[in-house]
């Protein structure tokens, strides 16, 4: 790929400041579009670009916008999901911290397209520096009348509020995010009604991911056809892939949709650290099913990865070399899901807890081979039985790690956790035991009372 698009300002010093961003062309597209194009033309361009929701679901963005009621009397809200929390994903942090004006310009265009006068950005609470840069950028945009009443001297009003979360993975789920933004626990809502009909404060709402919205200025500047041609069929544009784990060059790699996983790891991320060999890859955040070293010729786009039995998800690519203990990886994945279940639906609240207990037993060297089938049974009991897809996401690592590495699990169990070489971090029974008392079953985490 020739030139970076979304990441073009990531290494420019202080690009989060308006003067620097404007020197790099920020807001030019929004100024032109808001004064010369009709809102429906913006939506049509986004539709034609094959832009798909880059937060994980991959739903066509233009189509989502068209779900809004046509002659609604209620206000329309635009909500930006900046609650990045999917383990292995860090791309949105780069946009928020290093190039927030790119996002704000996208918000102006999206708000114009959907007829929204008020937008909220929900940013995860732990992102303090990204929040400071983003808020500073919003303040500067207000001062220059790029936000607020009558932006760019037009009759268009766009208000933007940056809202900080408070530490709950589930709030990345869009309806949980709405409840959280309304000041409540992050409980996902039953759908339908979809947020486009009944969303924030009961009004029609469009929720888009940070990176998705950051694509919009580029689509309108360079054309929908240009954007569509960058990716693979039906999957427009480039994507910010977060590559981590055992690679020489971990980081955000902007690559066209449809780049093969092999090229991503060996060409762009510098190959496996220390010249060791590849064992497995999780291609789309912790929720995505694991791929073995023999499955990496898959193209990294929504449709190809679905066909390969996994998903692109948040494009968090976690690379594991030959020294990786898959049992340990399942232990930490199961711990994560048990920790972060919001507790609203029984199959998820109980299932993630049971699964974690069993995986912990195995990891400690106290497991039995029949535990593996019990885990698969629990996973089946969680999948597709809850309000949101969290339970499904919790089931997939269990199913795929055991499904693809069953022999390793059985060997681990038979040898009571002593047979496999784990040079990265040797197994220590005491240290491996987590403080279960700090795990509150509602899904909330807190420090114990002293």
């Amino acid at each position: 790929m020739s030139e970076p698009i979304l990441s073009r300002n990531f290494s420019v010093p202080e690009a989060w400041k308006l003067s620097v961003a404007e020197g790099r062309g920020a807001y030019q597209t929004a100024k032109t579009v808001l004064t010369t194009m009709k809102p429906e033309d913006v939506t049509n361009a986004v539709l034609a670009s094959n832009l798909r929701g880059l937060g994980g679901a991959g739903f066509p963005t233009g189509k989502k916008w068209q779900f809004l009621p046509k002659d609604g009397k209620k206000p329309v809200y635009l909500v930006i999901n900046a609650d990045e929390g999917e383990p292995g994903t860090f791309k949105d942090r780069y946009i928020l911290e290093r190039d927030p004006h790119q996002l704000i310009e996208g918000i102006l265009l999206a708000a114009y397209a959907i007829g929204s006068k008020k937008a909220y950005i929900y940013i995860r609470g732990e992102y303090v520096l990204p929040y400071r840069h983003l808020q500073a950028a919003v303040d500067e945009a207000y001062a220059r009348n790029y936000l607020g009443k009558g932006v760019f001297g037009t009759g268009i009003d766009v208000d933007l509020v940056v809202h900080r979360g408070a530490g709950a993975y589930i709030c990345g789920e869009e309806t949980a995010l709405l409840n959280s933004l309304e000041g409540w626990k992050g409980y996902p809502r039953l759908k339908p009604p979809f947020p486009a009909i009944v969303g924030l404060f009961g009004c029609p709402t469009i929720i888009n991911n940070v990176e998705t919205i950051a694509c919009v200025p580029h689509i309108l500047k360079n054309g929908a056809e240009w954007f569509a041609a960058l990716g693979s069929p039906g999957n427009g544009g480039t994507h910010l892939f977060s590559v981590s784990g055992h690679v020489e060059k971990p980081g955000v790699h902007e690559l066209p949709m449809g780049t093969t996983l092999r090229d991503m790891i060996f060409k762009h991320a510098g190959g496996i650290s220390g010249g060791r060999s590849l064992k497995a890859v999780i291609p789309g955040g912790i929720s995505a099913k694991i791929l073995t070293a023999s499955e990496i010729d898959v193209k990294m786009d929504y449709d190809s990865l679905r066909a390969a039995g996994t998903m692109l998800g948040s494009a968090g690519v976690m690379v594991m070399d030959e020294t990786t203990c898959i049992v340990k990886m399942l232990y930490y994945a199961a711990k994560f899901f048990a920790h972060e279940s919001c507790g609203q639906c029984s199959p998820c609240r109980e299932g993630t807890g049971w699964a974690f207990k069993i995986v912990k037993r195995i990891y400690r060297g106290e497991g039995a081979v029949r535990d593996l089938d019990e885990l698969l049974k629990i996973a089946r009991g969680m999948e597709g039985r809850t309000i949101c897809v969290f339970a499904d996401a919790a089931a997939w690592p269990i199913q795929s790690y055991i499904g693809k590495f069953r022999a390793e699990f059985e060997e681990y169990i038979r040898s009571k956790g002593t047979a496999l070489a784990r040079p990265v971090s040797p197994y220590k029974p005491q240290a491996a035991a987590p403080a279960v008392s700090t795990l509150v079953r509602s899904g909330a985490r807190r420090l114990p009372e002293r």
Binding site: A432, T438, V440, P448
Partner: protein, 163 residues
């Protein structure tokens, strides 16, 4: 060390002007709940019953509803924490790059376990889920700041600087 209720109320009252501005930004008062809890906690150090009552008053909600919110989110502390609260990332990419050994190092150095505070009130430790800075794994957050590409020495020098 206990702070008197009257002092807490005075401290919170000093935030009223800012609270009014925050509430005005939202379309409905209750939407300011999380933001006001952050504000109150930053001032007091943790979320006390007085903070909950203050947020309840500003957002026009029963205190029990604020309490439910406080217990749901990991960032609200219901008991005092250290001056420097450490979130040590235990996400998959950090585990892949050896965070377990480093966590042991931190625990040994500070003499505390997950969820505890040092007796001098300087540090508290929380084993965190993925903080989404995996390019710099293993990593941790000390107070507001992210520290990436950790090793024993780097951890020592970071902790040393936090008084």
């Amino acid at each position: 060390m206990t702070i008197k209720t009257a002092d807490l109320k005075a401290a919170l009252a000093s935030l009223d002007a800012e609270a009014a501005k925050i509430v005005a930004k939202y379309d409905e008062k209750r939407a300011a709940t999380l933001t006001l809890l952050h504000l109150g906690q930053d001032k007091i150090g943790h979320v006390t019953p007085e903070v909950e009552e203050w947020v309840a008053r500003w957002t026009d909600q029963p205190v029990v509803r604020i309490r439910a919110v406080v217990t749901f989110y990991s960032m609200y502390h219901q008991a005092p924490v250290g001056r420097h609260h450490i979130r040590f990332c235990m996400g998959t990419p950090c585990v892949l790059r050896g965070c377990e050994k480093l966590l042991d190092h931190v625990k040994t150095k500070l003499g505390i376990e997950n969820g505890q505070t040092t007796p001098d009130g300087r540090f508290s430790l929380e084993e965190a889920e993925c903080l989404c800075a995996c390019e710099g794994a293993p990593m941790m957050q000390a107070g507001d700041d992210y520290h990436l590409d950790l090793d024993d020495k780097k951890i020592d020098s970071i902790l040393e600087k936090l008084k």
